[in-house]
Amino acid sequence: MASQGSVRVSAAMPSASALGRVQRIRRRYLGAFVVALGILLIWQTLRFTLNLPAYKLPDPLSIIAEFTNTRPTGELVALSLLYDLLVTWSEAVLGFALGASAGFVMAIAFTQSRVLERGLLPYVIMSQTIPILAIAPMVVVGVGQMGAPTLLSKAIIAAYLTFFPVTINALRGLKSVESDALDLMRSYAASGRDTYVKLRIPNAMPYLFTALKLSATASVIGAIVAELPVGSNEGIGSALINGAQYNTFQPAYLWATIITAAALGLLFYGVIALIEKRVVTWRVGE
């Protein structure tokens, strides 16, 4: 009897844990799913009750159908938008990498020198009060004229939005080290480098990733804004301008582009969140 019982238990185990996983996923995403459903429902009802024309608000189904239409060039909309997404993403990723590195290096420099922090931090903050729409054309055109590839000139705008949260959060993480932990390093006669590599930087990791997730979505916005002024014919930014121009004839295209832009932001966020899970394996804040 006893052995039978244990067999039954062990046989029940895998399915129970599989059920647990399904339940966990359901619990996690159910809320977001319900909200999406609710928005679509309100959207569809509004369109019918107010009898809005499609150029003001196309219905959700026609937007989804738009992905299967062809462009005037003969290209499938889904493929052309996927191409735009990849173009924008490459600009965003490059900008993200540049901005995050610059932000992190700046944070380390600030912890090294009080003078540097006091002198530069106000300008770091001020940099984010300047409307990006105002400086994007100047930077993109200016850097382009200096002979830089267009990818780089757009990535610089993405980097501009990326570095700020990284600087601020990394600075907090590097500084939020217990004084006892620093005394401990001192008692080992640890070098300044060891104090960073073995204490301050690992301690800053959870803070850094919070910033990187914010920056991932911001870098996408930066790349899109950078695409607007140059009259290029690739990237989500140019697709948005195209869509806006032909909105009266083909309203669903603009919306399909907006959805693509949102999906890219979400995708980039997800990638960083996955990396975070691999890197920050410890529990924070006891």
């Binding site: 008692s187 080992y188 073995k198 529990r283």
Partner: protein, 281 residues
């Protein structure tokens, strides 16, 4: 616990009340504190944490610093360990300045909070000072495992700090402090955050560790029972300004264990320490 015969460090017993003269045997002391003063804040308006404190500690001693909050016992510990500079006076460690002693890695330090690194496993936490001291990987691992065995955590080597109880975390912290075999162990209320039963057990363990290594221990505590049970000498300190009120020789026989706390002499000494603390207020 093995029978141990720690040298009673040359400190001279003076009669039944157990008081001794700290200025004796200054020549062969491992820690020599001469007229040390420490002020915090602005001159004339600050706090005098320590005023003209002198104390000499012999190799292999277990000295407890006890006193009410503000008596400067933690400050004194930090000055010994070169974590704070004194404003006045002189500290000599093995004939060197505290700074030189720190550069020579003479100090192991244990704080009230374990200060373990969340991102490191138990073993990696113990290896931390050895990594900094550029000890080879194989040797680091060997010593970490040896130290974890000493504190009875060999089954928890690959766990992470948050998976351990407070008592276990503090044992990791002790293993880490001992991993590089420092000649002086500075402990700042290491068991202050533990419940009394865990604290009693940790006291016995610390006794064992002390008798197995030849470490000199300076131990800051609020607990009279703990100080009497562990120490070779108890230094009673008083606040405003922080100074040494009395030094009491603890002549309880060794090895000490749970039964030590039942002995008449133990109660006498506890009473003696308590009375000196009361006189000081």
């Amino acid at each position: 616990m093995k029978a141990e015969d720690k040298p009673q460090s040359g400190a001279v017993r003076t009669g039944l009340n157990g008081e001794s003269d700290s200025s004796m045997n200054a020549m062969d002391s491992i820690i020599e504190i001469q007229n040390v003063s420490k002020y915090f804040g602005v001159a004339n308006d600050g706090v005098t944490a320590l005023k003209n404190v002198s104390l000499s500690i012999q190799p292999g001693e277990f000295v407890s610093l006890i006193g009410p909050s503000g008596c400067g016992k933690s400050t004194l510990l930090r000055i010994i360990g070169d974590l704070l500079p004194p404003n006045d006076g002189k500290v000599t460690i093995k004939g060197k300045s505290p700074s030189e002693a720190r550069q020579d890695r003479d100090y192991g330090i244990v704080f009230q909070s374990p200060v373990l690194y969340d991102w490191r496993s138990v073993r990696k936490n113990v290896e931390l000072p050895l990594e900094i001291m550029r000890v080879s990987k194989a040797e680091r691992e060997r010593r970490a495992l040896q130290m974890l065995q000493l504190v009875g955590l060999n089954d928890f080597v690959n766990r992470y700090p948050w998976q351990l109880s407070g008592g276990m975390q503090q044992r990791v912290s002790i293993a880490r402090a001992l991993s590089f075999n420092p000649s002086i162990l500075l402990m700042d209320e290491p068991f202050g955050a533990l419940d009394e039963l865990t604290r009693d057990r940790m006291n016995i363990e610390l006794m064992n560790i002390w008798s197995q290594t030849n470490t000199t221990i300076v131990f800051v505590t609020h607990s009279i029972a703990e100080a009497v049970f562990l120490s070779t000498r108890v230094v009673v300190m008083t606040p405003r300004p922080g100074k040494i009120e009395k030094i009491i020789e603890i002549d309880l026989p060794r090895p000490r264990d749970f039964e030590t706390r039942q002995q008449r002499r133990y109660f006498e000494l506890v009473t003696l320490v308590r009375e000196s603390l009361r006189e000081s207020l």
